[in-house]
C-alpha cells in the first residue's frame, strides 16, 4: 500500500505519508515476528521503537524541506519539482 501510494500520489505530503505507511508495515513485521516467532527476544520491539522515532525525525526534516519547496514554487505537487533531469 505504502509503495503504491508513493508511486502514484502527486502531492508531496501524501507521498511522505505513504512512506510512513511503509515504515509502519515494517514495524508491524517486527512486532509480529517478535511476538510469534521469537517471543523470548526483545530486539524486534526495540527496533520498532527506534523506527518510529527516526520516522518522526525524518518526517520533520522532510516537511521542512517541502515547506521550503512550497515557498519557492507555490506548490507541493511533485511534478512541479522536475527542473533537473537527464
Amino acid at each position: 500500500m505504502g509503495v503504491y501510494g508513493f508511486f502514484t500520489r502527486r502531492n508531496l505530503i501524501t507521498m511522505l505519508m505513504s512512506i510512513e505507511l511503509m515504515l509502519n508495515s515494517v514495524n508491524l513485521n517486527f512486532i509480529g515476528f517478535n511476538k510469534y516467532v521469537w517471543p523470548n527476544k526483545m530486539d524486534g520491539l526495540f527496533f520498532t521503537i527506534f523506527i518510529i522515532a527516526i520516522a518522526a525525525a525524518e518526517a520533520a526534516v522532510a516537511i521542512a524541506i517541502i515547506i521550503n519547496l512550497y515557498r519557492s514554487r507555490q506548490s507541493v505537487d511533485v511534478e512541479n519539482a522536475e527542473e533537473m533531469k537527464y
Binding site: L12, M22, L23, N29, D43, F47, I51, R73, A81
Partner: protein
C-alpha cells in the same frame, strides 16, 4: 585510559565538536570570518587526534565495534571533512548559517562513524539515518535557490523509500533468524531463498547510498541542486563511509554467501560504470558531470569490493583515500569558480587556463587522477582495484572495466579541452583564491601526486587491513 574513551574516541571527538558549535551558536553571534578558522582548526585537531590510541574492541553488547582498520577509515573521512572545510571557504563565508551547517555535517559524520562501526542492525539503521537526514537538510542550504529544495526533497524522499526497503529486509532476517547482531548472524547465514531476498533488500540500501545503477538515479539531481560543500560531502565522504560499511558487512556477515554476491557485484560494477560513463558523456553542468563520473568511479570501487580479498579491501580503502583528494580538488576548483562567478557549466570554463593557470592545473590533476592517468595517484588506485578483481580471473569484466576507463577519459578530456584549448571571448576573469582554499587545493594536489608515488601509504593501509 578507559576503553570507552579510546574505542569511542572518534565519535566522542565529533560529538564534542558538535556541542562546541552548538554552544557557540547559542551563546552569541560570531561572524563567519572568525568562526570558520576556528572550525577549521578544530577539525584539524580532530583529524590529528584520530591517529592516536587506536585499539580493537567492542562496546555496548557488541553493538559498537572498532579496530585499527575502522579507525583508519574514520581518519580518512576526517581528512575529507577537514579538506571540505578548507576548500569551500568562499561558500562558507557567504552562508548565513555556518554553525548550523557544520553541526549538520558533523552529525552526518558521526552517523557515518557509527555506521562503519556498527555491530548490529539496529545500530546500523540508526547510524544510516543519522548519516542521511542531516545531509538532506544540508542539501537545502541554498535557501533562495529553487533547485536546492528540489534536490533536498528528492534526497529525503528517495532515502526514506530506500530505508523502507532496507527495514523490510532487516525484518525478514529477523523473522527468519531472530538475530540482529552481526557477529551471531554470520554463523547462520546461508543461501536459502528467503535469506537471499532479505540480503538483496539490504544490498539495495547500500547500493542506494553508493549510487550503484539502477539505484543511482537520485544522485545527479541531488548533486546538481545542492550547495557545493554538500555535494562534495555526499559524493566523497558519504560514499566512502558506505563503501567501508559495505566491505565490513559483506566480508564479515555475508562471507558464507560470497559466491552469490561476487558475481552480482561484478555485474553491478560493470553496469554502473557503463551507465555512469554514458551519462557523464553528455553533461554540461560540472556538478552533474562529477556526479555521474563518481557513479562510474563507484563501479571501480565495486570491483575491488567484489574481489573479496584482503588486497581488494586494501585497494578500496586506498582508492577512496585517493578519490577523496581527487574529487575534492575537482569540486574545490568548481566551487571557487562558482562562488566567484556563479558559473557551473563546462562551456564557461573555456579559456580558464589563460586567466587562472593554477586552478586549471589543479583541476587537470584532479581529473587525470579520476581518469586514472599516471603519475597521479588515481592510476595506482584504479590499477590495484582492477588487479585485485583480476585475481579471480574474471577477465571479461576486467576488459569492460578497462574499456570504461577509455570512455571516462573521453569526457574528462572534454573538460581539459575546454580549460586548456578552447578559445573564449570572455573567459572567467582572474580569481583571487583565498588562502585557506589555496591550502586545501595544495593539500589535494600534493595528495594526488604523492599518494601514488610514495608506496608506503599504500603499504600502511595494506598492513592495517591485514
Amino acid at each position: 585510559m578507559d576503553a570507552f574513551f579510546t574505542l569511542l574516541k572518534h565519535e566522542l571527538l565529533v560529538t564534542a565538536l558538535i556541542f562546541i558549535l552548538l554552544l557557540l551558536k547559542i551563546s552569541r553571534t560570531i561572524k563567519n570570518e572568525t568562526l570558520l578558522p576556528l572550525i577549521q582548526l578544530l577539525l584539524l585537531i580532530n583529524c590529528a587526534a584520530g591517529f592516536f590510541w587506536n585499539e580493537q574492541g567492542s562496546l555496548f553488547d557488541s553493538m559498537f565495534y572498532t579496530n585499527p582498520l575502522i579507525a583508519l577509515q574514520k581518519n580518512i573521512l576526517n581528512i575529507g571533512v577537514y579538506l571540505i572545510s578548507l576548500l569551500f571557504t568562499d561558500w562558507f563565508k557567504k552562508t548565513a548559517h555556518l554553525a548550523e551547517f557544520f553541526i549538520l555535517l558533523l552529525s552526518a559524520l558521526l552517523g557515518m562513524f557509527f555506521l562503519i562501526s556498527s555491530g548490529n542492525f539496529l545500530m546500523f539503521y540508526l547510524a544510516l539515518e543519522l548519516a542521511t537526514i542531516p545531509v538532506a537538510a544540508m542539501a537545502n542550504f541554498d535557501l533562495e535557490k529553487k533547485v536546492s529544495s528540489e534536490s533536498a526533497m528528492k534526497m529525503i524522499l528517495s532515502s526514506a523509500f530506500s530505508s523502507g526497503i532496507l527495514l523490510f529486509g532487516i525484518s525478514i532476517i529477523y523473522g527468519v533468524t531472530g538475530i540482529i547482531n552481526f557477529a551471531e548472524l554470520a554463523a547462520v547465514v546461508n543461501n536459502s531463498t528467503i535469506q537471499l531476498l532479505a540480503f538483496v533488500f539490504l544490498i539495495t540500501a547500500f547500493a542506494f547510498k553508493l549510487s550503484i545503477v539502477p539505484f543511482h538515479l537520485w544522485t545527479a539531481d541531488v548533486y546538481e541542486g545542492s550547495p557545493m560543500p554538500t555535494t562534495a560531502f555526499l559524493s566523497v565522504i558519504s560514499k566512502g563511509a558506505v563503501a567501508f560499511a559495505f566491505i565490513t558487512a559483506l566480508y564479515k556477515v555475508f562471507q558464507p554467501v560470497a559466491g552469490v554476491w561476487y558475481n552480482m557485484l561484478m555485474v553491478l560494477a560493470v553496469i554502473t560504470m557503463l551507465v555512469g560513463n554514458f551519462f557523464a558523456l553528455r553533461q554540461q553542468n560540472i556538478k552533474r558531470f562529477l556526479a555521474f563520473s563518481s557513479i562510474a568511479q563507484v563501479g571501480f570501487i565495486l570491483l575491488g569490493i567484489g574481489s573479496n580479498t584482503a588486497n581488494g579491501a586494501g585497494a578500496v580503502v586506498y582508492f577512496i583515500l585517493i578519490y577523496i583528494f581527487s574529487n575534492l580538488a575537482a569540486f574545490g576548483v568548481a566551487a571557487i569558480i562558482s562562488a566567484a562567478t556563479g558559473k557551473e557549466n563546462i562551456d564557461d570554463y573555456k579559456g580558464l587556463y589563460k586567466t587562472n593557470p593554477l586552478l586549471s592545473w589543479i583541476l587537470a590533476l584532479a581529473l587525470f587522477s579520476l581518469a586514472g592517468i599516471p603519475p597521479t595517484a588515481g592510476f595506482f588506485g584504479k590499477l590495484f582495484l582492477i588487479s585485485s578483481a583480476a585475481a579471480k580471473g574474471s577477465y571479461a569484466f576486467i576488459i569492460i572495466a578497462a574499456l570504461n576507463m577509455i570512455i571516462s577519459l573521453y569526457y574528462y578530456l572534454k573538460v581539459i579541452r575546454a580549460v586548456f584549448m578552447d578559445k573564449n571571448e570572455k573567459p572567467i576573469e582572474k580569481l583571487q583564491v583565498n588562502v585557506y582554499a589555496k591550502l586545501g587545493l595544495f593539500i589535494c594536489g600534493a595528495g594526488i601526486v604523492l599518494l601514488g608515488l610514495l608506496s608506503w601509504v599504500y603499504e600502511y593501509i595494506q598492513a592495517v587491513v591485514q
